[in-house]
Subunit: 225 residues, 2 copies
Amino acid sequence: MTTSPLAVVLLSGGLDSTTVAAIARDRGYRLLALTVDYNQRHRIELAHAARVAADMGAERHVTLPLDLRAFGGSALTDDIDVPKDGVQPGIPVTYVPARNTVFLSLALAWAEAAGATDLFIGVNALDYSGYPDCRPDFIRAFEDMAAQATKAGVEGSRFTVHTPLIDMSKAEIVQEAARLGVDLGTTWSCYDPTPDNRHCGECDSCRLRHKGFEEAGLPDPTVYA
Amino acid sequence: MTTSPLAVVLLSGGLDSTTVAAIARDRGYRLLALTVDYNQRHRIELAHAARVAADMGAERHVTLPLDLRAFGGSALTDDIDVPKDGVQPGIPVTYVPARNTVFLSLALAWAEAAGATDLFIGVNALDYSGYPDCRPDFIRAFEDMAAQATKAGVEGSRFTVHTPLIDMSKAEIVQEAARLGVDLGTTWSCYDPTPDNRHCGECDSCRLRHKGFEEAGLPDPTVYA
């Protein structure tokens, strides 16, 4: 009997990363779940990440504090208003500079330390907000860099960054989660929660989430303001 | 009158990164100095980094806590003995998985937030301990990745990772520091300090440091055990 391989899964506790964790588990990986506490304003997602990691049977869940507010530059970490006027063209103010680069680098560090070569991240190029670090070109460039960056890479292992959602619409993601039996009611998407911890219903992330359930023809379990 | 450009300099407080900061300043950059507190066993280097940043007139110095011990895998963060038997072939146990990838990713995040496109890092391919993330191939792969990872990159800016020491011997680095008037007595190299905060004199880093001064024909100001 062989042991299942380990994979590091970046888990924010949102709809996308939770579905990715379920996909990785479905493909036979044992999960190392990594959540970054980057002093995001929507800190409630950290509690949701811990709940999801437990539900998914992750071997280990690390919530790593990393204060990206030290650098500034985003509505998700600074005192800039989160836009509420619908998804606009271009790169929005909720973009956090180089966030996925930093997150994947941390996942790579854990993977190498744990002897894993598979990373999973819930980036999505279609139904997303136009972030540069969610595009396939970025993912390929990161893999090429990882091959040069690590002892494992130099010794011949190839790190793979799995992006199972990259070409899916939000509706398809919701359907995939349903197929895998994920309770999406435990996930968190909102960038700007109400004081009593409900989804605001108006930020880009809430709009995409609700539209996903609608287009999937599935009931949205989210409690909006 | 134009303003000098900003550069993010990774500053550990060691001989190499201190010399790199002096080179960046000499080339006309204003310095954003980034030190990562990764729970290294040789924490005394953090105090040296702060001293060096002040001496160099850095515009800002950020010491960012990031607990890489959460992942394990290195003698610099775990309870593994630091080798004292001289520099050996191969990648040593003091290698921290993907450390320079993580550090450069954080520097990239700060650079993008600050509107800078120049990063400086004191990696060295010659007179070093065989770490994969100190090689030119890694640096080029990181630049290629950065071009895809960022809003600035996608919009046409090119991030440059400057590695002015990459082909220098330790003796040449010591000479360059002397030429630029750097007081190397304020820097810290040792991986395994004595309880009264002296350099041990026996780890790879101490051996390379002392050999550098010897071969440069300059007095070594370091207090060894």
